[in-house]
Every structure is written in structure tokens, then in C-alpha cells.
Assembly symmetry: D2
Homo-oligomer: 208 residues x 4
């Protein structure tokens, strides 16, 4: 499995004009410091490559930091600290891989993010996938990742394709196309911007 | 078809303690004035009744106003003005009704909310459904309503059940149960609070 | 909307060697006379073109006849007479078009194919779709067409891609690719063969 | 995990009048000997209990045998020998459990049921699920089990609810209701009858 490292804070990145959530004057405020956890499973490196582009997109947003983890290794504490979680999976038989599904199952068994408390509530969620065929499970995989997040009462967004970032990775097709990688960056950037807006706009916790 | 009227601004409602997005001190700010459009299709009155409870939930949030419209009659201008849109449908053959699907199709043909501009982008979306059997399409209907919203680059949330508010309305079962109506209220309230947080946190549009 | 005509009985077609349901010696038996109704909605002609390839696939099977109808015009009697129904739709906002959804709704309102009788029970069903983007709703559309059929207790198959035949029809891409059309033919042929096997194997109705 | 044993051949069971595939005169023919593999994952016993009712339904059909296996233990050879496979899962975060998903992943890695050969092609498939809430993932779980089967080019049916047999198993609710168990039996019986019809109607393999 290929690895990709955490994208550092792109503190000096120029703002994209016209982006819906582009902060006009808010840099430096604590609310802009958001942490986006990217969790993925990748055997051949395709999903890792798409995840890397998602992380690059997060890194384009001043104040946002992407942290990338393998689905089999991510710890509960990392979930809890994140302001947003983006999950990536290869398509196995029209659904996320067993490794990614088991990652979600551990949210209950290991991390106890259970109702009615819903420890992951109001974090932002999104998904990306890679699959060997055009229409053999990428959407279902995206949708079921988002469904797992909605069940946790997370706030869900997409970008790239309708339900998230995707790449078609059939025999002999390597590396990912420029458009696919660009859609991954769009997803990462959008998640970071929506997460910042929510963090800024959320009322302070009541003092005890 | 039963009707239900717009829920007025519940300006004096008490805040629920502990709610994730309960505004601690933000009342009166313009950002707290959010408009939630509830669009539904209802033949026997069940979906209208659940929509009424969703509107009541919106009304519990100071500054939030619910506007309810029939899916066949809602105008493009009403979509554009809304900060959030919650769509309700009966389950017909495991999916939203043709009336509700045609409502979404009009987003393209009549309202021109097309890519890459995505006129509905960053509005909040959610769904509620009623169906005659326990597991014969309510979830698929919720999920496809949310998928339509994600394709429009809306920001999607749920509450009540995992994917939104639901009611099971088989033969002889009427009216909706107290729990079902309560889940409708939960959904409406959550949509209003997330919409306020996003509106508060969104950076101001650049001055020209 | 483009039109395509009914594919006549390809009585002399050679059998494909190795096909799972290729009839070894059964030609001429009444059970091999199966009627496959292809129902589609097409505005730009893409879905009609894919439907034409599906009909060609049906026509490759001796004894099988494809009948193609516009979703807005198909009559209940045509549904009832068919041994199999294959439904095709363009993707509109991540789901079948309102026209196709309304076609399914008419199964209840006009054709009265209701539980517990389930007039469409045990007919074979399948789906094909066209969409402008790689992963923006084709699978969800296939899956919801199949879900509507399963709710009617039909027997569902796919071919081509995992959930049915598909074509990606973005700007400037025309006509459909040879592979897409071939997958359409695969779907039609498979539906015809499975329908024949079921018809042959079904016990005769009890004599009164 | 509770266990349930294989339901023996109910050789003397009376035929249900009016059942769509009730064999009128075909008993004793080799084609009527069908093997239905029931694969499930169950922690609290709910899914096992529903699986037991599915097996009972299979056992009502003369000639049909149900074999029940734990998802973590089923062997490739058992998959290959089966004429039909019915998969049951609890709902974990709106999808099948990681154990069941990993079972499907082993179809590729261990059992090599890969395209284009598709070793599971033309076997009959169906699904059953249990979940703690009314509308929090049972349908999505059913649908993704069926999607995995369709990707393998299996022939898919449902019964009970629209997409398969289900039980709602919230806090304090035990055991399963009579209706839920009955829907499980309906599913098992229908799978057995459709499998027999297909086996009877399938042309003999060519002699070498």
C-alpha cells in the first residue's frame, strides 16, 4: 500500500476568488483552524492517490490541516479530535471494502459513538472512491459511506461528482486522470471551507 | 390533500438546553433569520402531517421561519430565497413519488440550477417520508432525495431516523405516532440550527 | 425523441456457445416464445439508442421478441402480457426521470398491480440508464428501477455493468461507444435467456 | 452467537395452493433437488432467528434443502455447490456488518468468482436483515447485499418486505414478531421455488 503524508498548513495559500466559503477577512481566527481527517483503504494505491489529492485540496484552505490515516489503524481519539472526516474506499462488489466497513463498525464497538449522545454529531463528512468499472459500485459505495455518516448525525457534503470524488481504475489504467485528481482536490477544499463556516458560526459552549 | 400553514417566527421560544447548535447569545443578529422551505407531496395527508411536525421543529428555533409548499406548486423563486429546503414524499414503489421527482426535474428545466454554477449550492437539505410498510422504500426514498440535493452541492443533514424523519402508515394506522411526529420536529429543529450556524459562519460577500 | 422499432423474432440466429442459458434443444417449444417489453424515456436520443441495443440483444435469442415503448405511453395491457420488462431512464438529479417514475406510479393507480396479488410477480426485470457524468447517478437510477421491480416481486437480473447497462453521455460525446452498446446487447440477451428458462421450468397452471 | 441447524428435506410437505411456482407434477425430478445456502452474521441472535425462519420457508418446498452457515466460516466450496444463496446481516451504521462485507470480499480473494467467468452467475440470491430502528439502514443493507449479488450476475428475488425479509429489534423487543418470522418463511419459500423453476428450465449442458 502506498503511503501519503500529512499535508501541512498552507498558511500562505492565496484565496480562490469566488469560492462560496472563501474567508474574506477571517484568517487568524481560531475558528479557522480546522482539522480534516482523511481515512482510506488502498491495496493497489489508487485510493491512496485519490486521497492524496483530497488532502491537497484541504491544504489549499488557510487554517485547514489534513491528517491522513489508514482505515485499519485510525484511533478513536483521532476521530474525536477531527472537525471533519473524509472516508475513501475501493469498490468491492458494489460497496465499501470490508476493511472500511469494519472501520465504521469500530465507531460503535471501540469508540462508543452511540445514540443518543452521537459523539460524531455535527462533524462534517464526505467520501471518495475508486473502482475498476465505470458504473459498478462507485456511487453505492459513496452513498453508503455518507449514509453511515448521516446515521451518526454528521453534516454531509460532496464535490467532484454528485456524491463525492471518484476514479475509474480498470486494467491498465494508471495513474489517475488529471480530472479525477482535480475532483479530489475540489472535495477536500469544499470540506475544509464548509467546516470552517460551521466552526465560526457555531455558538460558544455555555460556561459552567 | 390536507393543508398546513406556515409556522410563524417563534421569537420567544425557550432555548433547548444542550442542543448542539443552540445559540447562546446570537439572537437578533441578521444571520439568525433563516428561511426553511418545506416541500411535500401528500395524497392521504400522512406526509402533510409529518411535514407539519417538521415545520413545528423549525419554529422552535428563534429566527427561523418555515414555509410549506406543495411540490407541484413551488416556484423557482421560493427555492432561491430559501436558506434550507426539506423535501417530503410518500413512498411509491420504493422511491419518491413521480410528483416529487418531477419537482426535482424542474430544478433543471424551469429553475436552471445547473452546473457549474449550482444555484442551490451550500443551502442545507434534508428529507422526510411516509410509507405503508416498515421496510419497503422509506430509506431508499430518503436517500434519493438526499442524493438529488448532494448533486446540487447542498449541505445535507438528517435527524429522527438515520436518514431523516419517517412514518409508517399502513392500513388502519392513523394518525401518526407521537414518536414519529417528534422525530419530524427533531429534523426541523436541527435543519434550522445548522442553517443558522452556516449563515453566521459564512464570510461576507466581497464588496465591489 | 428518437424512435426504434420492435426487433422481430430472430428465429434463425445461431446460438452463442457457452452461454449459460443457451437452449441446447428447446427451440420451437412454446415456452421459448417470450416477450420482452422495453420501456424507456429519452429526450436527446441517448437512452433510446441504448434501448435499441438492448432490443438487439433480445433479438439474438431464438423465440424472444422485444417490444419497445415510450414510458409515457405504455399501456397496462402491455405490461401484463410481457414476460419481462426492461426499463431505461436518463439520470436526472441522481435518479430516474420524473417521466419514468410516473410510469412506475401508474402501475398502482392505472394498472392496479397491487399487493397482495402482485400482478407483475415473477416477471423478469432489468434496467439501463444514460447519464452525463461518470458517477453522478447512473447506479442510483439502476438500483431504484430494480428496487421498484423487486417491490413488485419481479425477478431481477443485470448485465453489462454490475447493475445493468449504462452509457456516459457528457457534452460532445455522441454516439454511444461500441462497448456501451455491446453491454446493452448483453443485457437484452441475458434477460431473454433467463426469462425462457423460468418459463420452461415453471409448473403448468392447475387445471380447473 | 446462537446456532440453528440445517433444515432437512421436507419431502412430504403439502403444496401450498396457488403459489406461483408450486410444482404441480414435478416432484421427484432431479431438477427439484435444490440447495439453498443461508449465510448470516448474528451477535445477539436476532439475525440467526430470522435466518431460521428463512430456512423453514425453504424446507416447505419439496426437494429444497436449506444449509445454514456463519458468514465468517462459510467455505468457497459451499458457495459453489449452492443453487441459491440467501445472506443475512444485522444493520451496522446503515449497511451490512463488516463481517458480512468481508464475507463478500472473500468471494474475490479466496473463491476467485471473478469476471468475466462469474462463477456465481445464474445462482439465485436474496437477503434478510435485522436492525434496531424502523428506518435506519435495513433497506440500504438489503439493497447492498442484492447489489453485491447482481454484480456477480446472480438472479435476485425478494419477499416479505419489498427488498427482502426484515425485523426491527430495538431495545427490549424480543423475540421477533410472528409477522417478521412469517416474512422470513415467505422469502425462503420463494427463493426455493424460483430456484427450482430455473433449474428445471435451464437447458442441459452440452455433451462433450
Amino acid at each position: 500500500m502506498k503511503n501519503f503524508s500529512t499535508i501541512p498548513l498552507a498558511a500562505l495559500a492565496l484565496l480562490l476568488p469566488g469560492a462560496a466559503f472563501a474567508p474574506a477577512s477571517a484568517q487568524g481566527k481560531p475558528a479557522d483552524s480546522v482539522s480534516v481527517l482523511i481515512v482510506y483503504h488502498s491495496v493497489q494505491g489508487h485510493t491512496a492517490a485519490l486521497g492524496k489529492s483530497v488532502a491537497e485540496g484541504v491544504g489549499k484552505v488557510p487554517g485547514a490541516v489534513a491528517i491522513s490515516r489508514n482505515a485499519a489503524e485510525v484511533k478513536c481519539d483521532e476521530l474525536f479530535k477531527a472537525d471533519a472526516v473524509i472516508v475513501g474506499s475501493p469498490v468491492y462488489w458494489g460497496n465499501m471494502s470490508g476493511v472500511v466497513k469494519t472501520f465504521f463498525d469500530r465507531w460503535s464497538t471501540d469508540c462508543q459513538v452511540l445514540p443518543p449522545a452521537f459523539a460524531m454529531k455535527d462533524k462534517v463528512g464526505a467520501a471518495f472512491v475508486t473502482g475498476g468499472e465505470v458504473s459498478s459500485g462507485k456511487e453505492v459505495t459513496l452513498l453508503t459511506i455518507l449514509a453511515a455518516m448521516l446515521g451518526n448525525r454528521m453534516i454531509v457534503v460532496s464535490d467532484g461528482q454528485a456524491l463525492g470524488a471518484t476514479a475509474t481504475t480498470g486494467e491498465g489504467k494508471s495513474p489517475l486522470s488529471a480530472q479525477e485528481l482535480n475532483e479530489g482536490r475540489q472535495l477536500g477544499e469544499r470540506v475544509a471551507r464548509v467546516t470552517q463556516a460551521l466552526k465560526r458560526g457555531r455558538p460558544p459552549a455555555p460556561k459552567s
